[in-house]
């Protein structure tokens, strides 16, 4: 596992504190994210792992302020640290910006960018790849159309698209799945963003392409020195790519820490269950793949106490179903949200 080491003095790029996102619907309010706190340092890769509906994508959409309707940030703070040309750092509170404000657009154009799960649907079907990359480049800086086109060809070459001079005028449906994903990555890194949010970048491509995409992200991080927030349900992906991981369940981070520590020694019963449920070559046929019993409760359902208690193997009656566990710091860089560890704190 070649996880690159991170400079210890790396400064914080973005700090998310007690983030709450809710979707008021006619049937009731869905609390998709309930008090999530994490920080991403410069040059760091943070992996957010969780089942579908755990709020991992919604958290990243909140950072970009592109929550689908009727989602809204109901509480919390997202503090962005922008490094100015003179070396000074300017902090911007993203939750206070309008989601269509020019300040927000400025952050989106130069500071952070997004790659999505399905490039086929994340790119417009009626515009060429080049049109969409050039659009991003011209939004991020003062470039003429011709300059942006040359830059786009360079970018496409740098993400490993063969024959970019021709492919730049191709439409999404004329490219293979892997090429589409690379085109989207080329668009995302266009203005050398400081944070790349990769929302399930390997889910929709087949296994050989998955490995290529991960290697590409790794080499881009080395050359561009950007931070990556990778959202996935694939523990293998975070194990290769991330420095730290945050495990999410029902809108909460249940465990957060360096990737090696968590994979070696998971503390939260949910993380332990997740790791057990990964199929490996050592798994024998008889005990097949372990699963976590039960299902994720319906989003409208209010679960008192710890959200995981109905499925937990270490359930303590009278505690877990009554009181919501607090965040407990196990080590300087490691925390868990579970009653088992709370007494020790």
């Amino acid at each position: 596992m070649a996880t690159p080491s991170l400079r210890a003095d790396a400064s914080t790029l973005v700090e998310v504190t007690d983030l709450h996102v809710e979707f008021p619907t006619r049937e009731g309010v869905v609390h998709a994210v309930r008090g999530v706190s994490f920080a991403i340092r410069e040059g760091e890769t943070l992996g957010i792992v969780g089942e579908s509906g755990s709020g991992k994508s919604v958290s990243s959409q909140a950072m970009l302020r592109i929550l689908p309707r009727p989602g809204r940030i109901s509480r919390g703070s997202i503090r962005w640290h922008q490094r100015l040309p003179d070396g000074a750092v300017r902090a911007t509170e993203i939750t206070e910006l309008g989601d269509r404000s020019s300040q927000m657009n400025a952050l989106r154009r130069r500071e952070m960018s997004l790659i999505m799960q399905e490039p086929m649907s994340a790119l417009s079907p009626v515009h060429t790849i080049g049109n969409q990359i050039v659009e991003r480049l011209r939004l991020g800086g003062s470039m003429t159309r011709a300059e942006a086109r040359l830059k786009a060809i360079d970018l496409m070459r740098s993400v490993g698209i063969p024959n970019p001079e021709k492919r730049i005028d191709a439409y999404t449906f004329e490219l293979s799945g892997g090429m589409r994903q690379r085109a989207m990555i080329a668009m995302a890194i266009g203005n050398a963003p400081r944070l790349l949010i990769a929302d399930e970048p390997t889910t929709a491509v087949d296994v050989t392409i998955q490995a290529q995409v991960i290697r590409l992200l790794q080499s881009l991080q080395d050359s561009l020195r950007m931070s990556i927030l990778i959202i996935t349900h694939d523990l293998g992906v975070v194990a290769t790519l991330a420095h730290r991981i945050a495990v999410m369940y029902r809108g909460e981070i249940v465990e957060l820490g360096p990737v090696r520590d968590i994979l070696k020694d998971p503390r939260h019963p949910y993380t332990q269950g997740l790791l057990r449920s990964v199929a490996s070559l050592e798994t024998s046929d008889e005990d097949s793949v372990a699963t976590i019993p039960g299902v994720v409760p319906h989003p409208f359902e209010v679960v008192p106490g710890c959200p995981f208690h109905p499925r937990c193997s270490a359930f303590m009656p009278g505690v877990c179903d009554r009181v919501a566990p607090e965040r407990t710091r196990l080590a300087p860089d490691r925390e868990v949200r579970c009653h088992i560890y709370q007494s020790r704190a």
Binding site: L64, N105, L114, M116, S124
Partner: protein, 331 residues
């Protein structure tokens, strides 16, 4: 792209050929031939047949092949149209159909295209606003007015507008032109005169067709607005209005382009009633009287011309769609 246009044009020509057979079938549908009816009308009116008339009748018999088998009659009719632009003899008006059909067709097409322009120019922004601000006051108002336009019969709205225009201006606004402009050559003054008259029929026909266009575009747009590529464009920092027009509107409008073709016959149907009520010199009232009088060459010619216009409209909308949507171009 060129191959696409050639293929579509060829299939359009085939359709046109099939329609010409149907049009001819309409011509020969009434019992007895038109010439016999004509002769008996003359006999009933004058009681005798002059030698000059006799010659004319023989000439027509030869020209249209009334004594020949049906397929020969058909080919003589088609050859007349293709070679000499001769659509046959209108026995009710005692004129060649081609002498007066083109002016009527031009007026009809002007009315149809003006209505179409009115529909799209108004419906697209309304639908766009309704989709971007769904369930807003303006959205509900647009829906309400759209359905009102759909529900009110055209003749009633036409009568009402005529009455309203008369009450307000004291002038009866009927027809497409003022009396002195009726037969004048095309000029700026004539176009202005046309615009002064045409707004009532355009409003009537347009209000009926607008609701469906608004509904189609609004629901297409609502679908597109939630697509990942829209979210992606937002994440890129594209300003919101530019984003909405460049991505979802551009894509939602494509299905609308394909409706241009079949909006044409609908609008033609609407022009008939409106033209009768408002006294407009279009094909519609002439078509109706031709059918009532069994003036079959005239009726058949109108069917053929309207079908041709629809086929050309469909062809144009296919080409527009292919230009707008690369996915269709490459199929």
């Amino acid at each position: 792209m060129l191959g696409f246009i050639v293929r579509r044009s060829l299939s359009g020509l085939l359709t046109l050929a099939a329609v010409s057979v149907v049009s001819f079938a309409i011509i020969i549908l009434p019992p007895g031939d038109a010439l016999t009816t004509y002769i008996s009308q003359i006999m009933a009116a004058t009681g005798e047949m002059t030698p000059e008339m006799q010659r004319q009748i023989e000439h027509m018999q030869d020209q249209y092949g009334f004594n020949d088998p049906l397929y020969v009659q058909y080919f003589k009719w088609v050859r007349g149209i293709v070679v000499a632009g001769d659509f046959g003899w209108s026995f009710a008006t005692l004129r060649n159909v081609s002498d007066f059909i083109w002016g009527l067709m031009a007026n009809t097409l002007i009315l149809i295209f003006a209505s179409m322009a009115f529909i799209y120019l108004l419906a697209v922004p309304i639908a766009f606003y309704s989709a971007v601000r769904p369930y807003s006051l303006i959205d509900y108002m647009a829906t309400f007015l759209g359905f009102l336009g759909l529900a009110i019969p055209n003749f009633m709205l036409a009568l009402f507008l005529m009455f309203a225009a008369y009450s307000l201006t004291g002038q009866v606004s009927v027809g497409m032109f003022s009396a002195q402009m009726e037969t004048a050559a095309w000029s700026v003054a004539r176009v202005l005169d046309l615009l002064r008259h045409i707004w009532i029929p355009v409003l009537v026909i347009g209000s009926a067709g607008m609701a469906s266009v608004i509904r189609i575009l609004r629901s297409n747009l609502l679908d597109e607005l939630n697509k990942p590529y829209v979210q992606m464009a937002r994440a890129k920092g594209v300003p919101e209005w530019r984003l909405l027009i460049k991505y979802p509107l551009r894509i939602a409008i494509n299905p609308l382009l394909s409706t241009i073709g079949f909006l044409l016959p609908d609008l033609f149907g609407a022009t008939i009633i409106v033209s009768i009520v408002l006294g407009l010199p279009t094909v519609g009232p002439v078509f109706l009287s031709a059918l009532l009088n069994q003036d079959m060459y005239l009726a058949g010619s109108i069917v053929l011309l309207i079908a041709a216009a629809t086929i050309i409209g469909t062809l144009v909308s296919d080409i527009l769609l292919a230009l707008a949507d690369p996915r269709i171009r490459y199929e």
